[in-house]
């Protein structure tokens, strides 16, 4: 169970980019947050991840309020993050980028590599190249793989489909569903690609101007009407 209660956060020089956010995601579910540009989606993820101090509210993960923790501690609790803009370590090789999180956690590197290349076979061919030299899509794939190999309990994805070729986007959808089900991972997916996101999710929140204006569970029956109803 992941829960956000009355979260308000923002950049120092303005009022606040998000206000009074309330979100709750049951374990092992995929939840989407959709919203147009500037709605505050990235801000929300950043404040969950501890990259930005929240002004008020609580973020409860695993029964613990993580809103005052720093990113490192949050990550160590098992929260993984794919940021907007990839943030690949440019001078580390693909393989080093991929394994870094595992090295910090003293995990089995060989197994992690296998898992990573299994998800994204394209990365295997370029494993010796420096992360900063990759194409945008390759970096995005690497960013997602990097998050998956550390065996997270919860993952935060900020527009993960951006810049990725269509067949891999489909693959990512499958992967997310699979890890949620098989590996007990809770997924918080921020997207503007509404149909892609809603189709994967069990619930969604609609973010507008920094506030949640719509939310609902997603079932087989209402998927289409929801996708239609969201106008970004």
């Amino acid at each position: 169970m992941f829960e956000i209660k009355n979260l308000t956060a923002g950049y120092s020089n303005e009022s606040s980019a998000i206000h009074n956010i309330n979100i709750s995601i049951p374990k092992n579910e995929i939840c989407s947050i959709v919203g147009s540009n500037g709605a505050g989606k990235t801000t929300l993820l950043k404040s969950i991840m501890g990259l930005m101090p929240s002004k008020s509210g609580e973020i409860i993960f695993d029964g613990q309020d993580i809103s005052k923790l720093d990113s490192e501690a949050i990550s160590q609790l098992g929260v993984a993050y794919v940021p907007q803009g990839r943030m690949i370590f440019p001078y580390l090789s693909v393989e080093e980028n991929l394994l870094l999180g595992c090295e910090v956690r003293k995990m089995n590197l060989k197994k992690a590599l296998e898992i990573g290349y299994d998800y994204f076979p394209d990365l295997k061919e370029i494993r010796k190249r420096k992360g900063g030299m990759l194409s945008g899509g390759q970096q995005q794939q690497l960013a997602i793989a990097r998050m998956l190999v550390i065996d997270p309990k919860m993952i935060l994805l900020d527009e993960p489909a951006e810049g990725i070729q269509p067949n891999v986007v489909q693959e990512i959808g499958r992967i997310l569903q699979k890890i949620a089900l098989d590996l007990n991972v809770t997924v918080l997916l921020v997207e503007q690609f509404v149909s892609f996101a809603i189709n994967l999710s069990q619930s969604y929140y609609f973010l507008q101007g920094g506030e949640i204006t719509k939310e609902s569970r997603v079932t087989k029956d209402n998927v289409h009407s929801i996708v239609k109803s969201i106008k970004l």
């Binding site: 950049y11 500037g38 990725i164 070729q165 970004l232």
Partner: protein
Amino acid sequence: MNKDLELHLKRIARVVNPIISLRDVEVDFDGYKALNTINIDFSFKGVQFIIGPNGAGKTTILDAICGRVKTSKGKIIYKETHEVQNKKPESIVHLGISRKFQNPTIFNTQTVFENMKLSLLTGKRNVWYLFNHKITKEEEDTIDQTLLKLNLLEYKNVISGSMSHGQKQWLEIAMSIINEPELLLVDEPIAGMSPSERDRTGELLKEIGKDHTVLVVEHDMKFVSNFSTSVTVMHEGRIIDRGAFDKIVNNEQVIEIYLGRQN
């Protein structure tokens, strides 16, 4: 390579009266050939897409044209007269080639208006002129109109760094089109945009494409199908097909390596 394919590629590569032609272009990054003997012309006008798997070399093609990466072989010919390979980026811009980058790269500490002013008065004219230039009413109108087109007019005096990712994308587009370049290179213009904005961007590109050439790299197939006049497919640093969207989506190889089955 099989003979038919070779012939096919030869045929699709050439057009009459191209705006930009790549002849045996090769880009080499410390031994890695990001572009491998590229031979292709792009015709005047229209929104022409380049698609292909991640790492195929699409961005690199745009980079080579606008002078951001050095080609190790071959020629890039603009309007059949100017060889632009390995020229300085600023002189390529002066020929009428403009580039929009994948991530928004705007001047964060300046206002939207100043960003626009900077792109309007490109450095074609001499340093002294630029230094003393006072903006004219007409020029301000041009800026306003472009901003209006992109729904940014209300942000005219906002410091651009404080806008969201999407808004920065718009500004970046506005900056690339304000001088009405003849060849506009656009890399993933709709990344991070919402569906309605995507449509607006598409319409905009289409409109520019009426009089100018727009080369777009994009992964969103819906977008490609709606707005493309032609599609070029790349894979591993080579061109593998080109044609109308409907034809391309039925190419088995393209489906295999790029589109996926259940589309």
